[in-house]
Amino acid sequence: MARLSAAELRERLRNDLPAALVEPAPLNLKAAPAHGAQAAGFITTDAVVAPERLVAAALYLRDTLGYAYLSDIAVVDYLADGLFELGYRFYHVEGGPSLVIKTRVPRETPEVPSLTPVWPGANFHEREAFDLYGIIFTGHPFLRRIYLWDEFEGFPMRKDFPKQGDKYIGADE
């Protein structure tokens, strides 16, 4: 069973894929007061790779480490930091915990190379991320909305999507 920790993954990526890892900048998280005092800047412990080296890193996980199953792609909108963070979660087919590689793109130009040409299972995940967050996956063969209708304007899971509902009538959008 494959048991690779995030720290070990970073170590291996640092050795085998030089210049793929980037040092993650601390994030401006604003935690709920009920969650108690927290450090001001949050630094992720996962491996953060540069967007242009994402495909190489994912193929390294698949072909060298054997993490062949791409479980999901998660997007987080860090509005205060002006960036989107994408987390790709991989599983080893023999079992064991998952591995995550992350990548960060600016909110103004959210372009990430697509994994679909080498990883057909990424197709729907990337279309979902495009639908709800507007991430442009360059090289994707069929980047269209998957949940919402094609005529819909805007990306509803972004933090700056206008607030909804009866409460916000008359509020500037």
């Binding site: 094609d150 005529e151 206008p162 509902g165 009538i169 959008e173």
Partner: protein, 266 residues
Amino acid sequence: MPDEQEIQLDLERQGIFLSTLNRLYNWGRRSSIWPMSFGLACCAIEMMAFGLSRYDVSRFGAELFRASPRQADLMIVAGTVTKKMAPQVVRLYNQMAEPRYVVSMGACATSGGPFRDGYNVLRGIDLLLPVDVYVPGCPPRPEALLHALMALQDQIDHQKLGRLRWYGSGNKPQTSDFPVPTFGAKGLEVDGRLIDPVGGLPLLSPYNAPEFGETKTGSLEHPEIVRHFPIMDPTVELEDAFKAQGVSPEIAANDLKRDEVGDGKA
């Protein structure tokens, strides 16, 4: 009508069977309400339990879930109606033969439920279809759906043949197709007009539940609804999700419209 029924029932107990065409018609109709097998979300699971042997809707003559709208009398809108699904729901309803009934099952189908303020859920199927019975709950228990069926049967019992909304005299708006909404940039549109905007109130008045199947306008109305709930006043700003900023106007005006709770001495 109720007196008439009392007399009839009284006579039946004594072995004398009198009836009217109305009653025979309604008896036939109420005893074979065939629902359409059509589920949208988790309420459909309860609807399956309602149809199967434990709750056993066949006791009420409604056991045949038809897979085709042409053969169904009752549409149970069981679950969240997303805006993407709403045109198909209306289209299925249009394909049903009259007389046809709609049960709005659960909070989502009735009003949008917890997703009402979201961007993708229709705020109640009654914006698009005439609903006969609403079932509250999230999801409703199968017993609640059985009760809804009994309520619908009660409504059918009181139908009058000449005044039915499908084949009575006068204009019969419900025999024509209901408008199928189309997709717009901000939400669903009917005749090019936004009916359920992404931010704001729906601009369509609900089709009220017709009482005994008679009164119904059937026309689309687009009132510019002006509602004011002080607690929803936009001047009450939420700075973030955890902290409300400012004082709501009714508290500032000391206008809570109720007496303060005394300490019991006065």
